[in-house]
Amino acid sequence: MKEPTVLPTYQAKDFKSELKPIWCPGCGDFGVLQAIYRALAAVGRAPHEIAFVSGIGCSSRIPGYTTAYGFNSVHGRALPIAQGIKLANPDLLVLVAGGDGDGFSIGGGHVPHAIRRNIDLTYIVMDNQIYGLTKGQLSPTSPKGLHTVTSDLGSLEEPVNPLLYTLAYGAGFVAQGTPADMAGLADIIEEAIRYPGFSLVNVQSPCVTFGEDDNQVKAHRAAMKPLSSIGHDPTNRIAAMDLAQQYGKALHTGVFFKNPSPPPTYDALVRERQRSLAEKAVPRERLLDMFVQK
C-alpha cells in the first residue's frame, strides 16, 4: 500500500535554532546536523513534539542547535532518559544522540537494554573513533594500535564494533552513514525515525582536530560504499552481520538491517496495558483500602 502523501509543512530551517554551533570548522557533526534538519522536515513533526536527548561530548551538543525540546544530559545517560520521556509521553518523537565514547564506553551498558526493550526512538551516534571534547583520548571504537594522548605507544585494545554489536543484540534497524553523503544520511535518518522501534544510525562523523587524516570527509567520499550498490538485502540480518564485520575496514553506508515485520514496541505494549487496566483503577484516594483488614 502506498503511503498517503504528507504535505511538507516544515522546512529544514524550521528546526534550526538561534544557537551557533561551536564545533571546530570542518567537524563532521555539522553535516550530521544538516542531515537531521532535513530528515525532521521530511518527517514533518512540529518541533515542540520532538524531544532530543544527548549525553556529553562535542557531538552531544547537537540538540541545542535544533528547535526541538533539547536535553543535553550527563555523559553516557542519554538512552535511559530518552526512554523515560518516551514512556511518559509516547506521542513524542524521541531522538537520542551522542559520541562513540558516550554511547559505547560510559553508556555502553544501556545500549543492549534499550535495544531489547525496543522503545520507539532513534539513536544517532557520531562515531569519530576519538574523544573530541576532552581533546583526543582513546575511544572504544579507536582502531587497535592508534596513537592518542592516552595511548602514546599505540592502543592495545580491540575496538567495539557498533554495527555488529547492535545487530547481535537484536536491533530492528541498524544503519550507517557519513556526512560525506549528506543527502544519503538525511534519508537514512528519516527512515530510522519512521521505523517503529529502536533504531540505530552510526554516523562516521570525522573529528578534524583529533582524528586521523584517512578518516576525514574527503577520504570518506572516496571510500564509501553504499549498500544499495552491492545489492545488499536489508531484511537479511545474517547478511547484515556479515557486512558489519567490515566495520573499521570498509565504509558501508545505508541500511544494514531493517526488520520487515517490526514487533510491537514497548511503548505500544505499555499503552495497551494502561488501556486494558484503566477500568480497574480505584480512585487514588481509595488506594489504601486494599490494606484494610476486613
Binding site: H48, G70, A82, A88, H113, Q293
Partner: protein, 593 residues
C-alpha cells in the same frame, strides 16, 4: 494487660513468620494497635527466621524492647537473633519440647525466666492435623489460650488462608489451633496475663508496611512513573508500582541499573509527569550524578533511599541511619536537595505526599530517607483522611508566557514556570551545563552565581516549615531529646516515660532532616542545657550536622551506635536521667573553718 510483645524464631520451614502474619492480621481486625518486624538469616530460602509482634490497646511507636513472650521452635535459631529477641525474667518462654532441653536448662545466659513451658508442639500438630507443618498453627493456639488474643479473628484468618486448598486443610488447622489453646488452658500461667479487649475499630484498620505505604502515597500524589533497580530493602516500592500504576495511565521501568532507573524517572519528569525512583545505599551512590542533573536542570524528582547497614553491601537486611550525610551532601557542586525522613509506616504517607509537593513546587529532586525498619515493618494504621492533603502540581507557563518563554526566568519566588515537550512555544534546552534564563549554555561566572542563588533561594521558605518538625513537651524544658527516622518512635516512648517519671524534657523530631532548619532548632535549643540526640549510626550523623549549623548547647550529646543494634526506650530514658543529673549543681554546703 494492655501491651504485649511476642518474639518467635524457628528455621525457614517452620512458618514462624507466617504465624506472626496471622496473628497481626487478626489483631488488626480486632482493632488492636500492632506492629510486626521480621528478621531473617542471610540465606535466601531456609535458614533461620524470626518475627516480633507487638499488640496494644494504645498507639505504639516502636516494635517494643524486651519480650513478654518468647517462642523458640529450636534454640539454635532463637539464639542467632541475639539482641533482636531479648528475654527477661518476666518473659513467658515457650519452646518445642522435642529439643530435649529441660525447662531449667534453657540456653539463655544471665536470665532465669519464671514461666517456662516445654510444649510438644510438633506432636500436637501431628495429632491434630496429621502433619508437623501445622506447628505454627499450634503456636497460635497456645498464644490465644494463654493471652486471650483475637481467638475468633485468628480462626477467621486461618479459614481465609487455607480455604483455597480445601475444607479439609481448614479443619485440620482449626483442630491444631484448638489443641494448642487446650494445652495452654491445661497448663495455666502462674500469673495470668490476659490481654485487654481492643477498642472497637473492628474491620477498619489497615495493616501495611512502609514501602507499600510509600508507593500508595506516591500514586495518590499523582506519580505516574517509576524507574528503578531491585535492592533490599526498597524493592517492594517498585513491586507495588508494577501492580498498580498502569491503572492510572502510568508505567514502570525495571532498569538495567540504578543510573538508568533514575535516568528514566528524570526523563518522565522532563516529559511532564511526576516520577520517582527508590533504592538503598549502594544504589544511592550510583544515582548521585543524575540527581545533580535534576538539581541544575530544576526538574521535580522524588528519590527514596531505604537505608540499610553500610558502607557497601554492609548489612542489607538491617536498619541503620548512616546515609544522612550521603543524602544531604553527596553531590559535586553547590547543591541543596531537601531530605525528608518518615518515622513510622503511618507518617510515610504524609512524608511521601510532602516529597512530591516539594519536588513539584520547587522543581527540585527531593530525597525520602526511610530505613529498613520503617520500610519493612508492618503496622496497623487508622484510615487516612486523604481530604486533608493538598496535592501540588508544577507551575506551567501561561499562554502569554509561552509567547516569550524563558525556562529559567528569574522570578520573585525564584521558581520559573516549567514547560514540557508537547507544549507549543515552551521549547527549551535543558542541560547539565550552566545556563542563562532561556536555558542556553553559558560559562559566565556572573550567570553561574545568579543561577546558584536562584536554586538556593527558592528553597529558603522550606527552612521555616514548622510543620515539618515535631516538637512536644514543656517549651522551656532544660532537657532535650532529638531523634529522627525510625528511632523517633523509640524516642517518643522514652519521652513519654521520662515525662511520667518527672523529667523536664522536650522532644524534637525533624521530618525535614536537610536542610537544617536553623531557626527552628535555635528556638528549640534556647531553653536547653542538656540532653541527647539519639540515632542509629556509628558517627551520630544528625548530631554532627546540627553542630555544623546550630549552636547546640554543650550539654547535649550524641547517643548513637551502629545499625542493627536497636536502641531501646529504657536506655534513652536512662541517658536523659544522666543528662539531668549532670545539670544539677551540687548545693553549696557552708564550710566550717
Amino acid at each position: 494487660m494492655d501491651d504485649l510483645v511476642i518474639g518467635m524464631a524457628g528455621s525457614g520451614g517452620d512458618g514462624i513468620v507466617s504465624a506472626g502474619e496471622s496473628l497481626i492480621a487478626a489483631a488488626a481486625y480486632e482493632g488492636y494497635h500492632a506492629m510486626m518486624t521480621k528478621s531473617f538469616g542471610s540465606q535466601v530460602r531456609g535458614g533461620e527466621s524470626s518475627c516480633r509482634v507487638r499488640l496494644s490497646t494504645r498507639r505504639v511507636h516502636n516494635p517494643g524492647s524486651t519480650l513478654d513472650v518468647a517462642v523458640a521452635l529450636n534454640w539454635e535459631d532463637f539464639l542467632r537473633f541475639g539482641a533482636e529477641l531479648p528475654v527477661s525474667g518476666s518473659t513467658v518462654v515457650i519452646y518445642e519440647s522435642r529439643t530435649g532441653v529441660a525447662p531449667d536448662k534453657i540456653p539463655l545466659v544471665g536470665v532465669a525466666p519464671k514461666e517456662v513451658f516445654a510444649v510438644p508442639i510438633s506432636d500436637i500438630a501431628k495429632q491434630a492435623a496429621g502433619t508437623e507443618k501445622a506447628k505454627n498453627t499450634v503456636v497460635l493456639g497456645l498464644i490465644a489460650g494463654w493471652f486471650g488474643i483475637a481467638r475468633e479473628a485468628i480462626l477467621r484468618g486461618l479459614r481465609k488462608k487455607f480455604i483455597k486448598k480445601g475444607e479439609e486443610l481448614v479443619a485440620s488447622n482449626e483442630r491444631a489451633f484448638t489443641m494448642g489453646e487446650q494445652w495452654a488452658r491445661e497448663h495455666p500461667l502462674q500469673t495470668p496475663r490476659m490481654m485487654d479487649k481492643a477498642a472497637s475499630h473492628a474491620g477498619k484498620k489497615m495493616l501495611i508496611d512502609g514501602n507499600d505505604m510509600c508507593a500508595a502515597a506516591a500514586i495518590f500524589s499523582g506519580c505516574q512513573f517509576f524507574g528503578g533497580y531491585p535492592i533490599t530493602p526498597s524493592t517492594e516500592i517498585m513491586q507495588f508500582f508494577t501492580r498498580e500504576v498502569w491503572k492510572y495511565g502510568g508505567a514502570v521501568l525495571q532498569a538495567e541499573d540504578e543510573i538508568a532507573g533514575v535516568g528514566a524517572a528524570l526523563g518522565a519528569s522532563i516529559a511532564g509527569k511526576k516520577a520517582m525512583t527508590a533504592t538503598s545505599g549502594p544504589g544511592l551512590s550510583l544515582k548521585t550524578e543524575i540527581m545533580g542533573l535534576a538539581s541544575i536542570a530544576e526538574l521535580p524528582l522524588v528519590i527514596v533511599d531505604v537505608q540499610r547497614g553500610g558502607p557497601s553491601t554492609g548489612l542489607p537486611t538491617k536498619p541503620e541511619q548512616a546515609d544522612l550525610f550521603a543524602a544531604a551532601f553527596s553531590a559535586h557542586g553547590d547543591v541543596l536537595r531537601p531530605v525528608l525522613a518518615p518515622t513510622s509506616v503511618a507518617d510515610t504517607f504524609d512524608i511521601t505526599v510532602e516529597a512530591f509537593n516539594l519536588a513539584e513546587k520547587y522543581q527540585t529532586p527531593v530525597l525520602i530517607l526511610s530505613d529498613q525498619e520503617v520500610a519493612q515493618r508492618k503496622e496497623t494504621v487508622d484510615p487516612i483522611d486523604t481530604a486533608r492533603f493538598t496535592v501540588i502540581d508544577r507551575k506551567l507557563p501561561t499562554e502569554a508566557e509561552l509567547k516569550d518563554y524563558h525556562r529559567f526566568k528569574l522570578t520573585e519566588d525564584h521558581v520559573s514556570p516549567i514547560s514540557h515537550p508537547g507544549m507549543k512555544g515552551g521549547n527549551y534546552q535543558g542541560a547539565g551545563i550552566e545556563h542563562n534564563e532561556s536555558g542556553n549554555p553559558t560559562a559566565s561566572g556572573k550567570m553561574h552565581a545568579t543561577m546558584n542563588d536562584k536554586r538556593f533561594k527558592k528553597l529558603k521558605p522550606l527552612q521555616r516549615r514548622r510543620d515539618l518538625h515535631r516538637i512536644e513537651g514543656n517549651p522551656s524544658a532544660p532537657l532535650a531529646l532529638v531523634a529522627w527516622g525510625s528511632v523517633a518512635g523509640v524516642a517518643k516512648e522514652a519521652f513519654d516515660r521520662a515525662v511520667a517519671e518527672g523529667l523536664d524534657v522536650k522532644l524534637f523530631v525533624p521530618l525535614l532532616v536537610w536542610p537544617i532548619a536553623e531557626e527552628i532548632y535555635r528556638d528549640f535549643f534556647a531553653s536547653v542545657k542538656g540532653g541527647i540526640v539519639a540515632e542509629l549510626s556509628h558517627q551520630g550523623q544528625l548530631y554532627r550536622m546540627l553542630r555544623m549549623y546550630v549552636d547546640v548547647p554543650a550539654g547535649v550529646t550524641s547517643f548513637c551506635r551502629s545499625g542493627a543494634n536497636p536502641i531501646q526506650p529504657l536506655e534513652v530514658v536512662a541517658k536523659l536521667r544522666e543528662a539531668s543529673m549532670a545539670l544539677q549543681t551540687p548545693p553549696q554546703i557552708p564550710s566550717e573553718e
